[in-house]
């Protein structure tokens, strides 16, 4: 590992103690994760190198290890060695690689430590290889032998054990809801404004990123205010409200399935119509696109981003916004999992167009936007924090060039990273969710 090298690090010791059985198990899981689509992808990189300078890691470090094709070659090399004829017959000739202790170290350093699974390389690949998803198959193999970097794994463990990724106790969550509800009522001077809990038959079942309950209650209040203004029936669950799913990042489909299934069960128990996912990029990708695959089932109910819902309220005239209430210049960060991998591209713009008087796009934007550097579990893997901040310089420069005073970010993970970038690169901006900006513009 290049960063924070410490021979006494228990994680490094764990790697040193790997046995041939562990490696065999990793290979078995790797093979299980590969379907015919991935197998075709793994046969097709042409080493053209065109993916290099679209990756924020390569643009920052300019080293071989940061090139998407190099990271992918670590996965393809192992695939060839064990699952292809040419890789077995002429390994050196075709770049086949043995999965041994050194390769495991490289996998951890490159596939966890130099990739935020942002997918920018995939849309730029000459062939069209889904590089982040292929990298995730190798992460799955590492997860199977307990070699997920500790911070990321403990986030998953906490979510599995405690029901949410911050380990918030039920009474604390209920207290937060009560407190935010009072704040909301004071804010709009209306005792009828409520944050409903476990309301059976509500139309919308709303979820949050637990960070909101811990550190950003204003974003919960903002959504409550919007639902109230729209006069819609909605609810929280007192047990299952966590939209996040770090199983997407550690590659453990089973754990990921357990987390997403909680929301599905609560939806069904409460008999709600639509599962509404908070402003959380990976939470959206996980619960909208990946979870039905992890659980091998069709949901039978709608799953939508809160941005789709709020844009719908505006379009249908259920809420009215006054852009004059937000005069500061606002720019928008496009979270990779929500936009490039999730397909929620225009809704946030539609909302901001109605909610803000002055808006400016970052360049590039939408599907082509740069990752903030916080995705792929990077925020939880402290051993790679230094890299995370360095690669975030690209996003910081993008923000600076707009001259905006406020950065709207429809993702709480991105917000965490943007707040660090704000401090580190002295950007002097405010960072808000899209719903917070919309709530400020509400005409009630």
């Amino acid at each position: 590992m290049n960063e924070k090298k410490d021979s006494k690090d228990p994680f490094d010791e764990q790697i040193e103690q790997l046995t041939p059985d562990d490696l065999q198990k990793a290979l078995q899981v790797f093979e299980q994760k590969i379907d015919h689509k991935y197998a075709a992808h793994l046969n097709s990189c042409v080493h053209c190198g065109l993916c290099a300078d679209v990756c924020h890691y390569y643009l920052t470090y300019k080293d071989l290890q940061s090139i998407p094709a190099y990271k992918l070659s670590l996965v393809i090399g192992v695939f060839k060695k064990y699952f292809s004829f040419s890789g077995k017959a002429i390994p050196r000739w075709v770049g086949a690689k043995t999965l041994d202790k050194d390769m495991v170290k490289e996998w951890i350093d490159s596939l966890f430590g130099r990739c935020s699974l942002c997918g920018r390389c995939a849309i730029n690949c000459s062939i069209g290889l889904n590089i982040p998803y292929l990298i995730r198959t190798a992460r799955s193999a590492l997860a199977a032998i307990g070699l997920v970097p500790p911070g990321l794994q403990s986030t998953v463990n906490t979510a599995i054990e405690k029901g949410n990724n911050m380990g918030i106790a039920k009474e604390d969550w209920l207290e937060t809801v009560e407190w935010v509800e009072e704040e909301l009522q004071d804010d709009i001077d209306d005792r009828n404004a409520v944050l409903p809990l476990d309301k059976k038959g509500a139309k919308y079942f709303y979820t949050i990123n637990p960070r909101e309950a811990m550190f950003f209650p204003l974003s919960i209040q903002a959504v409550g205010k919007i639902f109230h203004a729209a006069g819609e029936s909605w609810t929280f669950s007192s047990d299952n409200y966590d939209v996040t799913n770090y199983g997407l990042y550690n590659g453990d489909d089973e754990a990921a399935g357990i987390m997403s299934d909680r929301l599905v069960r609560s939806m069904k128990e409460l008999g709600c119509n639509t599962l509404v996912l908070a402003e959380c990029g990976h939470g959206f990708n996980s619960n909208r696109w990946e979870a039905p695959e992890w659980l091998s089932k069709k949901y039978g109910f709608e799953v939508r981003s809160i941005l789709e819902v709020v844009a719908g309220f505006i379009r249908d005239g259920k809420i009215k916004l006054d852009p004059a209430k937000n005069q500061d210049l606002i720019t928008l960060h496009d979270p990779c999992n929500l936009v490039r991998l999730g397909g929620i591209v225009e809704e946030q713009r539609y909302i901001l167009k109605h909610a803000a008087a002055n808006f400016i796009e970052m360049i590039p934007n939408r599907q082509k936007n740069f990752c903030c550097g916080g995705g792929g579990g990077q925020l939880s893997m402290t051993r790679f924090s230094e890299r995370r901040l360095k690669v975030g310089k690209i996003k910081s420069d993008q923000i600076q060039k707009t001259g905006a005073k406020i950065v709207a970010s429809p993702c709480h993970n991105c917000i965490d990273q943007l707040m660090e970038l704000n401090k580190h690169y002295k950007l002097n901006v405010q960072i808000k969710t899209v719903c917070e900006i919309a709530a400020d513009a509400l005409v009630i």
Partner: protein, 211 residues
């Protein structure tokens, strides 16, 4: 001698086709996973995007910022497909009109030059060199030789022996190394279109005004 070589080319083609088929079957032996998430976008539009706009330099940053490489790649691959067709012209044989021969010569020569440019770039750019394995270089050289011989053959049919020999080597090599991507490329673009199309990423769905 020519007959033996001609048979050699055909055998090598059959070997290539059979081995590629086995490779595809092996790929499918990894299993097909059913997709459960409800699409929001249009898969057909996604596939169309993958083969059209999604490959254009103004849409794809990597192509736009590496325009010379992109253009070389386009010429290279067009020339290769034409040169693959040309081997049948020689074997059967088919008499082509002069204009067709002229067009072929232009594309074949451009493809050869592009192949050499791409090879030089691979060898001279440090990160490209480090990314490459012997297969990348061998594949390029084999195809370049095939292209130049196809081009020269249009002027000097007397080199048929060398052209056939190169064709035998090239067809035998296709399933073993990276040239196989010419086969997988189309399938992967389809998968690309399905992935981004069903998610409404490419092309971007504008649901707000539609509903």
């Amino acid at each position: 001698m020519q007959t033996v070589l001609k048979s050699g080319v055909l055998i090598s083609m059959v070997f290539s086709a059979v081995t590629l088929t086995i490779l595809v079957l092996k790929t499918f032996s990894f299993g097909k996973k059913k997709l459960y998430a409800e699409p929001t976008g249009d898969i057909k539009k996604g596939i169309t995007y993958a083969f059209t706009k999604g490959m254009m330099p103004w849409e794809k940053e990597s192509a736009g910022s590496h325009l010379p490489t992109y253009i070389c790649g386009m010429f290279y691959h067009t020339g290769i497909f034409l040169a693959l067709f040309y081997i049948f012209v020689v074997i059967i044989p088919i008499t082509l009109p002069d204009i067709a021969i002229l067009i072929f010569q232009v594309f074949c020569l451009s493809a050869f030059v592009s192949g050499i440019v791409l090879l030089i770039k691979r060898l001279l750019t440090p990160y490209m060199r480090e990314l490459s394995c012997p297969d990348d270089i061998a594949a390029n050289i084999i195809v370049d030789i095939y292209l130049v011989l196809a081009f020269v053959h249009t002027f000097f049919p007397g080199i048929t022996t060398y052209f056939y020999l190169t064709a035998i080597i090239m067809f035998a090599y296709i399933p073993l190394g990276k040239i196989r991507h010419c086969f997988f490329f189309f399938y992967i673009r389809i998968l690309f279109g399905i992935f981004y199309g069903r998610r409404g990423v490419f092309p971007t769905r504008s649901k707000i005004d539609e509903t």
